[in-house]
């Protein structure tokens, strides 16, 4: 391993002795091609290696690219380093661009260049190539290991290992699934190996009416970790018995299991052959609402709201079901406590529910609808204001005599005036003024002014 010394200016200096020992400087035979002096071929291969390592986000534990290999202009490792008369080295393409723009100074030292000829720095190029080459072989070996291990686990679970053994059962199965899950979530590339070893069909077959949660939660976690699910796999997962298991785990599992189930259901919903009645399940909706109300886990709240929103969009009858489980008052009460990014999805859902008559009634009957909606006006975003406004419109129109005064008491007047005077879109302003008219029909101007607590100037 090359040793680095920390420089006072913050860079790192490559220790030549250990670099020699480790073969960076051409001592080891494996570095054959990389140290050959073929200028034309090298940059392409080197660029490929660099890109692949970069894409793989190759582990955090590795040592960083040495500072001397980085181009000061692009801050990327150099493929074709050239040195100027000031002794500074840059990526050839980058410094050419700099000079082509008419500059005659060295970008890092700001000195004037008495000679603009860039000298190809073959020594540095060879060092960079060798370093990356080693890094690359190590990366390949390690990746192969993960892939190999993942494939091994899948075959063990399927009973297709060589030499032939019974498929794993019981605790051994749970342990294998757990390890597979850890591999899949930590190393994206492993998901491909899992799919190739027949992992998707295996995991799908593991889900059924008698699957224990221990097995089911691991299987679902792997399925949502980025393994590609083809149409057949998704069709299999849509079978009622498997969906029942997902709903079960959604209701009773640990939070990340719940979130994974939500995510898997969401993936299935996007598939072409998806039957919307599948999500018209009271148990599913109750489970999702429970997740949404769990303030300790904002990830779950966001995932749950997203799923509910999709369900409302995809299946109209589901909206009545959602209202029937008391979701409207629950969502309304949550509105002010949700993390900011969840407010709009929640309002979206309430908006969708307000389209069905039962939803409108539920909104009207909930005592917090008006105060919470008024609070949300002009608070989060224009989209939220628009939805909150439309909610207020629905409620006030249904029962103007009770709602209007309540709304004004909650401070609606001032807020509406704010909307009208703000930079919001014209339709929004129009809606606001219509709502204002509706609410102030029976108000005298003194009452109105006092309710709005208007200052003298605005009066």
């Amino acid at each position: 391993m090359p040793q680095y010394q920390e420089l006072p200016c913050g860079g790192q200096e490559l220790d030549i002795d250990t670099a020699l020992k480790d073969g960076i400087l051409g001592g080891a035979p494996e570095l054959g091609d990389a140290t050959a002096g073929d200028g034309g071929k090298q940059p392409v291969e080197l660029r490929k290696m660099m890109d692949e390592l970069d894409a793989a986000g190759d582990g955090g534990g590795d040592e960083a690219v040495p500072a001397v290999f980085i181009c000061p202009i692009s801050l990327e490792p150099m493929v074709d380093p050239v040195t100027l008369c000031t002794g500074q080295t840059y990526e050839s393409a980058n410094i050419s661009r700099w000079l082509a723009l008419g500059h005659r100074t060295c970008p890092t030292t700001m000195q004037e260049l008495w000679d603009v000829t860039p000298i190809p720095n073959t020594t540095l190029r060879q060092l960079i190539a060798a370093w990356f080459s080693r890094r690359y072989t190590r990366f390949k070996k390690r990746s192969a290991d993960f892939h190999g291990r993942a494939a091994e686990l899948v075959h063990g679970l399927r009973g297709t290992a060589v030499p032939k053994r019974q498929p794993l059962k019981g605790q051994a199965r749970v342990a294998a699934l757990r390890e597979l899950r850890s591999l899949a979530t930590n190393h994206q590339s492993v998901t491909k190996a899992i799919a190739e070893a027949g992992g998707v069909a295996l995991l799908t077959s593991l889900l059924g009416p008698f699957t224990s949660h221990a097995v089911g939660s691991e299987a679902v976690a792997i399925l949502v970790s980025g393994v590609s699910l083809d149409a057949d796999a998704k069709a299999a997962l849509m079978q009622p018995a498997k969906v029942s298991l997902l709903v079960d785990m959604l209701n009773e599992g640990a939070v990340d299991t719940k979130i994974n189930c939500v995510r898997l259901i969401r993936i299935l919903m996007d598939e072409k052959g998806f039957r919307p009645e599948t999500v018209a399940s009271l148990s599913l909706l109750v489970g999702v609402m429970r997740l949404v109300r769990d303030k300790n886990h904002p990830d779950g709240v966001a995932a749950g709201l997203e799923l509910l929103s999709s369900i409302c969009a995809v299946h109209r009858p589901a909206r009545c079901l959602i209202v029937s489980i008391g979701a409207v008052p629950q969502l309304v009460e949550l509105l002010l406590e949700l993390p900011t990014e969840c407010v709009e999805p929640a309002l979206d859902i309430l908006d969708a529910l307000a389209i069905v008559p039962e939803g409108r009634i539920a909104l009207k009957d909930c005592p917090r609808t008006i105060p919470n909606a008024v609070r949300l006006l002009m608070r989060v975003s224009e989209a939220c204001t628009q939805r909150a406004l439309s909610m207020l419109w629905v409620v006030c129109r249904m029962a103007p005599e009770e709602s209007a005064p309540a709304a004004l008491d909650a401070g609606l007047g001032a807020k509406l005036l704010l909307v009208i005077q703000s930079g919001c879109g014209p339709e929004l302003k129009q809606q606001a003024s219509e709502l204002l008219k509706l609410c102030t029909l029976n108000c005298t101007s003194t009452v109105f002014i006092s309710k709005c607590k208007l200052t003298k100037t605005i009066q």
Binding site: P209, F210, S212, H213, A214, Q239, P240, A241, D248, E252, A254, S281, L282, S283, V286, R290, S324, I325, G326
Partner: protein, 361 residues
């Protein structure tokens, strides 16, 4: 009457399917609760020893007599009532046998089933009129074990006959009173194997509401509903559909205050019979399922129909549960109480679920 619950014991009540409290008669049960009990004895206790097996011989023979009598009398009645009556008329050479068997089966004490009697029973069973009556078993209140015993007649009449486990599981005898069983589903010796105590209250004939609160402390209620009986009427009231009765009973139990926090396990039982019946009798004959739309014949239809029934029970559960109760555990299990492997798997799941709710995860 009910023992206090200690910390490592789990008490479960096996629900009942119908009660005749307002009808003055006895509920005909038959939802499969006792079969579950027998399975538990086989799976998690020591099973049945030879003496216990032999104790079922008289029950099994009784079932044979009851079956053939129901079929014979049923055929006679249908031949007088049905428009297509000729197919229910028993052939002349079998009529005498039929009367004789019907008389024997009407006595208080049945004789042991011997070879000559078996010969007669078999002959009658094979009569086309009887077979025709059998195919409308739902109308004549034929017990579910009928076909099984009719097909095994020779074995049952052997001089040294010892009933098999399967015979015992099929044997039908009405439960009386409250039956209790104690077991450990995970297996003795294994760490954390909780003790379960199960009560079958199906046989309790007194007014339900008077004693139900005594079960307030139980961890869970298992409600057995035989989904195959959507086209059958009550034994004691032939105008009332059994499934509707089940629906009312389930609703009643869910609303009981003493079960506010109790977990509910719903066993949708007799799936094997349901599977076969759904191909011939549409679900919509039952008023509760009248909005059912079939999709395609075959296996798909069975799954579709089952999901429909399950959804109906789910709807009923959420409608009958006030908002503050919606958080209690509610699980539905598809069961065939006669299938030992299935029952074992089901109890494993129940054990896992109860463990989870006890840990408050």
């Amino acid at each position: 009457m009910i023992e206090a619950m200690t910390t490592d014991e789990v008490h479960v009540t096996v629900g009942w399917e119908e009660e005749g409290e307002n009808k003055g008669g006895n509920g005909s049960g038959e939802s499969g609760k006792s079969t579950i009990f027998k399975q538990i004895k086989l799976l998690f206790q020591t099973g049945f020893n030879e003496a216990e097996l032999r104790s079922y011989i008289s029950v099994i023979h009784a079932n044979v007599y009851q079956t053939i009598k129901i079929l014979h009398d049923g055929a006679k009645e249908l031949s007088q009532v049905e428009s297509d009556s000729s197919k229910y008329v028993i052939s002349p050479d079998n009529q005498e046998i039929g009367e004789k068997l019907s008389e024997i089966a009407g006595r208080l004490d049945y004789p042991l089933l011997i070879k000559e009697l078996v010969h007669d029973v078999k002959k009658l069973w094979q009569d086309p009129a009887i077979q025709e009556t059998f195919s409308c078993g739902s109308i004549v209140q034929l017990p579910d074990c009928a076909q099984y015993f009719m097909e095994n007649l020779d074995r049952l009449a052997e001089a040294d006959y010892v009933p098999t486990k399967e015979d015992v599981l099929h044997a039908r005898v009405r439960t009386n009173g409250v039956v209790q069983i104690q077991f450990s589903p995970v297996g003795e010796g294994k760490r954390g194997g909780e003790v379960y105590r199960l009560y079958d209250v199906g046989g309790q004939r007194n007014e339900r509401r008077k004693w139900i609160h005594l079960f307030e402390g139980v961890n869970a209620v298992i409600f057995c509903a035989a989904i195959s009986e959507y086209d059958q009427m009550l034994f004691e009231d032939e105008t009332k559909n059994r499934m509707m009765e089940t629906k009312e009973l389930f609703d009643w139990v869910l609303k009981q205050r003493c079960f506010e926090k109790t977990s509910f396990m719903l066993f949708l039982n007799k799936f094997d019979i349901f599977e076969r019946k759904i191909q011939k009798v549409p679900l919509s004959v039952c008023e509760w399922f009248k909005d059912y739309q079939p999709i395609a014949p075959g296996k798909q239809e069975v799954e579709h129909a089952y999901e429909f029934v399950k959804k109906k029970f789910e709807e009923l559960y959420f409608q009958s549960s006030k908002p503050d109760r919606v958080d209690r555990v509610f699980k539905i299990y598809r069961t065939t109480a006669l299938d030992q492997k299935l029952v074992k798997k089901t109890f494993k799941l129940i054990d896992e679920s109860m463990r989870r709710s006890r840990e408050g995860s």
